[in-house]
Symmetry: D2
Subunit: 269 residues, 4 copies
């Protein structure tokens, strides 16, 4: 339990408005958890109309909610006040951890997954990281490569696109850049996982996705969509890739939200 | 996922004020979780001064917080708006579930624990439940017996008292009555667990403890401190007995809170 | 805990021989677990040379082994005597369980995964199961369709092939048929998972893969590689798809076994 | 993953013979697990008559078996070949880990439990460890104190005796010495847990119990029943105290085994 400052205080909001035609089961992942990186000082999670809702913890430790959205207008409104550090840790030189020395709990993040076909990225990863010290510097080189080679363009992609496809298209949304980064890391035997949540100052403001890599004995944050790492991340969910961390999954006829708002404010201001 | 009404909306508050002489590690259990019985619509958890705090999930699924309280005044202030049903389920006649048919996850609640020496309660339990159908009715008989034979007197006990001791003294606080009830259930091979949290209308108002027994395929609520079951329970933690569900555990020189306030209001009023 | 006969007694063997050029970390999944479907009465797991090996349980409950294979000849020899039922349960008419009524623990098996892009199989699944009662009968129709439309041909595929690719090729090995079956089930909101292990009487004898679907409140076994279901399955690992249940995963330069033997005998004979 | 030698190869046997009057549910804990300390190279677990048996993993990671013993003679026969190190690690000077720096997973082992009323041992622990460096040396002092002050006498105790009681009686069996050691460690904020299993060379041979304490960042083995630590431990179960690690728990009328054999051989001999 490293001593951390929690000097930043962010207020997040996310609302989703649906118009439901037939009662539809939803799985939601919209409750940020307090943990090593952030402290949730205040949180609100309202449903209109009030329907029965059940919460459970998934395999990755996320707090997930289950409900059946009733016919008609259905609104989910969440907000939180989250304390977090005012800078993101970086660790150039942090070493690669050999597979045999990784904790059991991170091994799962070495394997290929739905959107991160890491088994197909070996050659690309080897090229990109050719002259790097194994570990943090390899991941940093991957992020630089992503910034230089894959255009970050909100709205340019869709949910069926995987890392292999996105890397051919050379353009993508935040989740695509995260997927490629994760696939490249795993192909080098560096555990990597996807994070969804909020980023203060994101333009255009929306829910966001980035990734973490496990080097030097802990998880570090990486985000190729931003020119450089800055503070302001609030995590909502962790997983192997976007399949694990959908903010909402529905079953039955597809219903898109007719309205969605996201905002992040700095309460110190 | 049974359809439940969440017709009641309760607001809970709990504050703890400490005067800390040497920096002291604390484990806290003060964050109610949404689950099958309740939905946390709003929640606040503030620390003064702001110290780093880490959250984790224990073996029983409780959200726990770890921190080191610094020297000087230290205040913890929590509040929540919780939706819950407007009556507590009761199920006279719900059958005993034979050990071989219990889910793996409840077996732990059959074993004796620090404050529930169920291995010593066989004869008493057999006497109390002599003419009952096995299952819910046995637990109901245990609760009736507790109401008639163990005086519920807030302030009459202390944290070192176990079920065996409390049943000799014939008087106790809420946790003592819960411990005896749990020990009696387990001695009949009925899984039983302790719950801590809030109860609307409790006199005098304070944090509360009650118990749940597993019969008829699910957990049911029991509380011998009240003349009859009424709605208004908000759960904060589950465990085998009070050792697992301390609202705060500290390590090092003992520090008692110099102030503590608890309140529960009905927001529908 | 349903009463089951364990009338069949099978002996399984699997040996793997490697010629290692540089010390190589391995994750292995070669220890069958006793559970609801089988009882491991005898088990042997030998390594030559004897190297340090660590065992852990993964997210899916599998017993996994970690080791670093040393330079030179390296041999893994496992065998087991396993008691299991002499017929596989089938349940025509067992109902579909609506998502909101599924246990939390099976929700993970509804999501797309590396080799089962269930998000792309909706139309195909709807066609195949057009006139079926929701539930077991849909899965049975999927298995019939697989038998009629995808040729089972050992040696015809490789580990990079996913369900989407295999369904275009119309031919595959056991894992491909399982992947397509799983993807089709999930696209209908039926949880489905991959199983690896042994099958008595398999021709040609090898390690095998099949799948399970969750209908009517429990998991049922399905296998499109066989003309009809017969007894003789011994499970070694469960997961979302082949990425989770590799019998061995290695990191670093790829090393193929230079020898592998698999056998299953019926000890009652 | 520290490199360990597994130079010792032990063969363990344990058989239990029961004469069952009414069908009786049992929970068993008789399957050693491979882990960091030992590798199970061969294992046998037979029941006569063959009854359905189900295996699950408890909260502490132990492999447990559930069955209903039928009326009449019932025999359980287990044996294993286990590789383990030829000496037990000792670490004089290994430091105390402050509570705030302990891994989440060991916090549970700080709390009082059924047979280890650590809340009552503060003064005794402080006296015994008065001049020790915090950490391993405190635990070593506790073990020395136990050797000098609590007589180890097989057959002198029974299963209802707790640490508080055993420390008054000044005599006990292996589990009593372990309980007192655990209670003393926990009262000093050192996590401690009970282990049951086998010890090569134990006189008289029987199932054995000892304890582990968490200092210097890992678990270390301690055993006050032996004049000094020597190799030859095979772990079968871990828990907070004897309530968690009963080799068998039964429900209903108590049935004692009419026969029990235990042996441990050194296969290198």
């Amino acid at each position: 339990m490293e001593v951390r400052n929690f000097a930043m205080l962010l207020q997040t909001h996310c609302t989703l408005d649906f118009d439901i035609e037939v009662p539809t089961p939803f799985l939601l992942m919209l409750r940020p958890r307090s943990g090593a990186q952030q402290w949730v000082a205040l949180e609100e999670y309202r449903l209109e109309p009030r329907v029965p809702v059940f919460e459970y913890t998934d395999n990755y430790g996320n707090l997930c909610q289950r409900l059946v959205a009733p016919q008609g207008a259905f609104k989910i409104a969440t907000s939180a006040e989250v304390m977090t550090a005012d800078r993101v840790d970086e660790a150039p030189g942090a070493p690669f951890i050999a597979v045999q020395n990784l904790p059991d709990a991170v091994l799962d993040y070495l394997l290929p997954s739905r959107y991160c076909e890491s088994d197909r990225f070996n050659d690309m990863a080897t090229d990109i990281t050719a002259n790097c010290r194994p570990g943090y510097d390899q991941v940093a080189a991957i992020v630089s490569w992503l910034r230089d080679n894959i255009s970050y363009r909100p709205g340019s992609s869709n949910v069926a696109i995987s890392a292999a496809e996105a890397s051919s298209r050379r353009v993508g949304v935040c989740r695509d850049l995260a997927h490629i980064g994760i696939a490249l890391c795993r192909s080098l035997s560096i555990p990597a996982r996807m994070v969804v949540g909020y980023l203060y100052g994101l333009v255009p403001m929306d829910l966001h996705a980035w990734f973490e890599a496990y080097v030097g004995g802990r998880w570090y944050t990486f985000d190729a969509t931003q020119p450089k790492l800055h503070a302001g991340y609030v995590s909502v969910g962790y997983g192997r890739d976007a399949a694990d961390v959908a903010v909402y999954s529905q079953f039955g006829p597809i219903v898109y939200p007719k309205g969605q708002t996201v905002s992040v404010e700095d309460l110190r201001a």
